[in-house]
Symmetry: C2
Subunit: 684 residues, 2 copies
Amino acid sequence: GAGADNDLYINQAIVFIEDAIQYRSINHRVDSKSLWLYRWYYSRTCQWILSLTITVILALAFIEEPSSLTITSDVRYRLPAWNPPCGLTESVELLCFLVFMADVSVKSYLIGWKEFWKNKWLMAYILTLIVSFADWIVSLSFFCKESVRIRRILRPFFLLQNSSMMKKTLKSINSTLPEMASVLLLLAVHLSLFTMFAMLLFARTKDNQQDKEWVVYFRNLPDSLTSLLVLLTTANNPDVMIPAYSKNRAYSIFFILFTVLGNLFLMNLLTAIIYNQFRGYLLKSVQSSLFRRRLGIRAAFEVLSSLKETPASAQQSCVGVGALLQVLQKAEMDSRCKQAIMRSLKMCSCDQLSAAQFQKLFEELDKDAIKQHPPSPEYQSHFMQKVQFAFGHPYFGYLGNVVALANIISICVVLVMDADKQPSERDDFFLGAINCFFILYYLLEMLLKILAMGLKRYLSYPSNRFDGLLTVILLILEIATFAVYGFPHPGWRPEFMGLLSLWDMVRLVNMLIVFRFLRIIPNMKFMALVVTTLLDLVKNLRAFAGILVVVFYAFAITGIMLFKGAVVPLGNTRKKNVISWCSVQAGLIYCLLYVLSVHLICRWAKIYFVAWWLISSVIWVNLFIALLLENFIHKWDRRCQRESLSDIEYQRTVELMFRDVLEEPTEEELMEKLHQHPHLHLCR
Amino acid sequence: GAGADNDLYINQAIVFIEDAIQYRSINHRVDSKSLWLYRWYYSRTCQWILSLTITVILALAFIEEPSSLTITSDVRYRLPAWNPPCGLTESVELLCFLVFMADVSVKSYLIGWKEFWKNKWLMAYILTLIVSFADWIVSLSFFCKESVRIRRILRPFFLLQNSSMMKKTLKSINSTLPEMASVLLLLAVHLSLFTMFAMLLFARTKDNQQDKEWVVYFRNLPDSLTSLLVLLTTANNPDVMIPAYSKNRAYSIFFILFTVLGNLFLMNLLTAIIYNQFRGYLLKSVQSSLFRRRLGIRAAFEVLSSLKETPASAQQSCVGVGALLQVLQKAEMDSRCKQAIMRSLKMCSCDQLSAAQFQKLFEELDKDAIKQHPPSPEYQSHFMQKVQFAFGHPYFGYLGNVVALANIISICVVLVMDADKQPSERDDFFLGAINCFFILYYLLEMLLKILAMGLKRYLSYPSNRFDGLLTVILLILEIATFAVYGFPHPGWRPEFMGLLSLWDMVRLVNMLIVFRFLRIIPNMKFMALVVTTLLDLVKNLRAFAGILVVVFYAFAITGIMLFKGAVVPLGNTRKKNVISWCSVQAGLIYCLLYVLSVHLICRWAKIYFVAWWLISSVIWVNLFIALLLENFIHKWDRRCQRESLSDIEYQRTVELMFRDVLEEPTEEELMEKLHQHPHLHLCR
C-alpha cells in the first residue's frame, strides 16, 4: 500500500542521510528488511563488537606459544613465559572466526550478489577465512604441536579489510609501486656495480698484513654486498672505509662516490617520487568523501520526492518539510547539526524544498563547530572584580610559566649536583622542600584561575585541563609522600615504606613537573603551529599507521617463525635479544642495521632484514615525509588567513583544511551515479 | 663630436648585449674608458686569472704546516709531511692578495662611488683583505711561528664573493634561517626535556649490578645530552636502549617516543620548512635572470636609437640595421647565435627596427640548440648497404649490451670462484682469455659501427664516444699486458714486471669493463630520465656545492686549529685518524656521529662536531632534498610533453625547463629600471 511505500521511502532517506554523514557508499540493498539489517550492522554496538574481535585476534600473538611477553627481555633473567593450554587460544580464535563469518555474510548480502562478484576485498576476506579455518582444524588435529601456523600471518588482513581508509591508502601505495620499483632496480644496479668494483679494488694481496682488515668487509660476494648495503644505510659509515683510508687516502673516493650516488641521490629520489605521487592524495581522498556525502543527500532527496503526498502537479520534483522533519528525527546524527538544520528549516517558511534548498540545508554538516567558552562569573563586589581582572589576565599565566621554568631549573641543578653521589649519600630534603613549595604555588594558581574564570570556563580550555589534572595528581602524590614519610627535614631519607620508596616518589613528582612544563607550548606561536600540524598529521596518518601495524605484525610473526629454532636461548643471548626486540617492538627502524652490521647471521635472516629495512625504513619513512610535506605546506599557506581568526577555536578536520580547493560535484554527475545504483530504481 | 658619440653608443650597445648574454647587471659606468676596462675585466683571461688565484689560495691549506696530505692517513706508517720553508706560502699569498686588491679596485671603480657604499659584499671584501693582510704581516714578523692564523678561516670568502649565484643562494638560505631556528629551538626543548626525563628515569639505584650499564649513557647531564643527541642522529640507536630494554621492556617506550618525536616529526619538519621556502627558489632565480637579459637588450636598443644617423622625424624610436650589424660583429657571443641573428636580420627586409623587433631578434639567445647528427655515409655497393643496415640497426647495439652483460657475469663468476683462493694459487689464465675475447668483440663492434655510421656521426653520440674511448683504453692495456707478460696460457702468473703486476693489469681491465657497462643506461627509459634529472640537478647545485665547499673549508681549518695540540700522534691513533679525515675530507656526513658515539672527546670538540652535524648533515642535506624535489617534480610533469620530441636532442638548461612558466617583463618595468641606471642618462 501507499503507507508501506511511504514508510519504506522514509527509511531509505534516513539511511541515505546517515550514509552521507559517515561518508559511506550508498550502493547497498534498499528494501525494508535490508535497511533494518544495514542500520543494525552499522550501529555502534555491532561495529564495536567487530573492532573488539579484530583486536582480540591480533592480541592473541602476545600470549601464544613462542611469544616473549615478559617484563625483562634478557633471557638470562627472565622467567619462562606462560604457555596457555592447547585449546584455549584456539577456542577464542573459533569465536572470532564466527564473528568474521557473520560479518562477511551480512556484508555480502547487503551489497547484493552482482556487486559481490566485483568486490575483490570480500572474496579475499572469504578466502582468508577458509584458509584460516582449515589451518585451525589442522592445528587442533595435531594437538597444537604443528610447527607452521599460516593463519597467524593472515590475521592482520582482518584489520586491513575493515577500514575503507586503509584500503584506499593501499590502492594509492599500489599505484606508486612501478616507479618505486624502478628506483629500487636502479639502486640494485648501483649496488651490484659498486660491489664488483669493490671486489676488484680491494682484492687480496700477497701481503697479509696489509689486507688483514679487508677480509672483514670484502672477502667474497655476499660479504661485499652486505658491507655496501649496510653502507647505504649509513650504519657502518666510517668503519668500513677506515682500513682502506689509512692505507691510501685515494680509496676514500670510492666510498664518497658510492655514498653520494646511493644515499644522497637515489634514496632522495625515492622521496621525490613518493612525494610526487602523493601530492594530490589527500585532496583526492577528501574530494571523493565530499562526493559520497552529496550523493547520499541527493539520494535522500530523490526518494523523499517520490513520496505519495507530494503534489504531482509540480514541474520540479520537491520534498515536503514534514517528511524531512520526520527523517531528521529518526536519523542518527550529531545533535548540534540536527538542531541547526531544524532551526533553518523552521526559518524558511516555505512548505516544499527544491533539490538545491535541500542540499543547502545539509551544508551544516560540513561546517566546523565554533567552540564558545562559557562566560566568566560576574562578581558584584569591587574587590572581587579586581581579583578577577588580576588573575584572569594573560600575565598571570605567563607568571605561571616563569614559575614552572624556575622549578625545572631547580630540578636540573639538583640533578647535576647529585649526579655523582652514591644513593646512600643522597639527601632528599632540598628537592622535597622546593617541590613542596612549587606544588603549593601550582595549587594556588589553579584555585585563583578557577575563582577568576569560573569552573566551567576554566575547564573549557584544554591547556587548563592539562594543567589542573597534573596539579591535582601532584598534590595527591605529595600528600601521600607526607603521609608515609613525614614532612621534609634535613637528612630526610628513611627506609623503604609502602608501595614506592621516597626517592621513587620524588622522582615521579619531578617527572610530572617536567611534563607539566609542556604547558608553555600554546604560548609560542611557531610551536603552536608546529604542534597543531603534528596533531593534524597524526589524524591523517591513522590509515598509514594501520597499514604499518599490518606490515609489522606480519613481519613479526614471520620473524618469530623463522628464528624460533635458529636462536638458542643459552647461546648468543645478545643476538636473541636484538631479534626478539626487533620483531615484536614496532617503530624502531634502524635496529636491523645494527643486526646486519654486528652479526653476520644466516642468509635467510639477511633477506628478511633487508626486506624489512626496505619496507619499514625506506618506503614507510618516505611516505611519512610525503604526507608531512603535503600537510605542512597546506597549513603554512593558510597561516596568514588563520591568524585573523585566531580568537575563534575551530575544531579542524582534514575536510575543512581543503574547503576552498574542493570542487562541488555537479547535478549531472550526482544523477548519473544515482541511476547507476544497483538496487535503487528511481521512477524518472 | 658626433663620430665620437656614435662610437661611444656603439660600444655601450656591445657591452649591454654582452651583459644580456651573460645575465650580468648593467649598472656599471658607461664612459669609453670604463667600458674598455669593463670588457677587459670580464674577458676570459682576466676571469681565468681570478679563478686561478682563488683556487691557489684555497689549495694552500694542503701544503701549509699542519696539513696531513700524505698517501696514508695512518700516523703509524706515514712519513712526516713536507713542510714548506717560511716565506714560500706567504709570498704566494701576497701575490694572491695583490690580484684581489686589483679585483676589488676595478669592481669598485666600475660600479661607481655611490653604488659602492650600498654594496655590502664589496665592503666585506675590502675588510677581509685588510684583515688578511694584517694577519700576514703578523705572521711574517713572527717568522711563521704564530699559533693562530685568522686569514686562513677567511679564505673561503674569496670564493664566495666571486660568484653571484652563490651570493643569491646565500641570501635565500638566510631568509629561511628564522624558521629553521624555530625548529632547532623546538629540537633543543625536545632534547632538554627528554634529557631530564632520562636522568630521572635512569637514576642510579642501590643495586650496582643493575645500573652498571647506565653509567655509560646517563651518568650526568652532559653525558645524557650527548647520548640523546647521538640517538637523534640514530648512530647509537639500539645500543643505548638495550640495557634498559633487557631490564624492563616498558623502558623502550621512552626511546620510541623520543625517536618518533625527534627523528620522524621534528627532523622531517625541517625538511618540510626548507622545501616550502625553496619551492619557488629556482623559478625566481631564473625569472630574475630573464629580466637581466631583457634589460640588457633594451638598454642596447635605447643607446643605439640615440645614434645621430637615425632620422629624427620618426615618432617611435628605432634602430638602424647597419648599426646593429656593427654591434653584432664586435660583440662576443656564441657563433651559432650570431649567425642566426644575422640571418634573420637579412631576411627581414626593413631598414629600421622597432623595440619589439629588436627584442625578437635576440630571442635566438633563449632558444636551445637543436643538435643534428651528421648523416651516415652513402655507399654505392649493394653489399655495403646491407652491411650498413645491419650494423647501424639498434639491435646491433642491443647485442653489444648483451655481450657486455655476459662479460660482467663472467667476471663476477671468476671473482666468486677466486674469492677464497690465496694469491699464490690464483691462475689468471681464464680471466685473461675471456677478457681478450671480449675486448676483441668490443673492437669489432666499434669498427663496424664506424663503418656503418661514418666516423663523424659515430662521434656525435655521447654514448658512442664513451664506448669508443673505453674500448681504445682497454685495447691499449691489453696490448701492453701481452707485450710485458706474453699471451695468456694455463698457469699464466709470472712475477712482477714493469709498472703493474699482471694481476693489477687484469684488475684494471676488469674495472674498466664494469665501468663500460654503464652504456646500458640510455637504453632504459626510466633510468635515462633519472640520470638526466641528476645531471640537471648537478648543474643547478653548483652554487650550493660552492657554499658547501666554503663551509667545509672553514670547518676544516677551524678543526685543524682546534685539534692541533689536542691530538697526540702516538697516543690514540684511531681518534687522530678519524678527526683528520673528518676535517679534511668533505662530503662524508656521518663520521662525526661515529666520533661522538665511540669517543667522548673534550667539550670543545663536541660543540664543534655538533655544529658540523647541524650544518652539513641536517641543513645541507635538507636543502639538497628540497632542490631535488623541485627539480624532479618539474621534470616529471613535463615528461609526457618531452616524449613526443624524443628524436631531437635538446641541450637543456635550467632556463629552458621553466620556459612556459616564465613571465616576460613588461616595457614599463624595463624602462623604469633603465631610468634608475646610475650612470646611463637617457635623453627622453
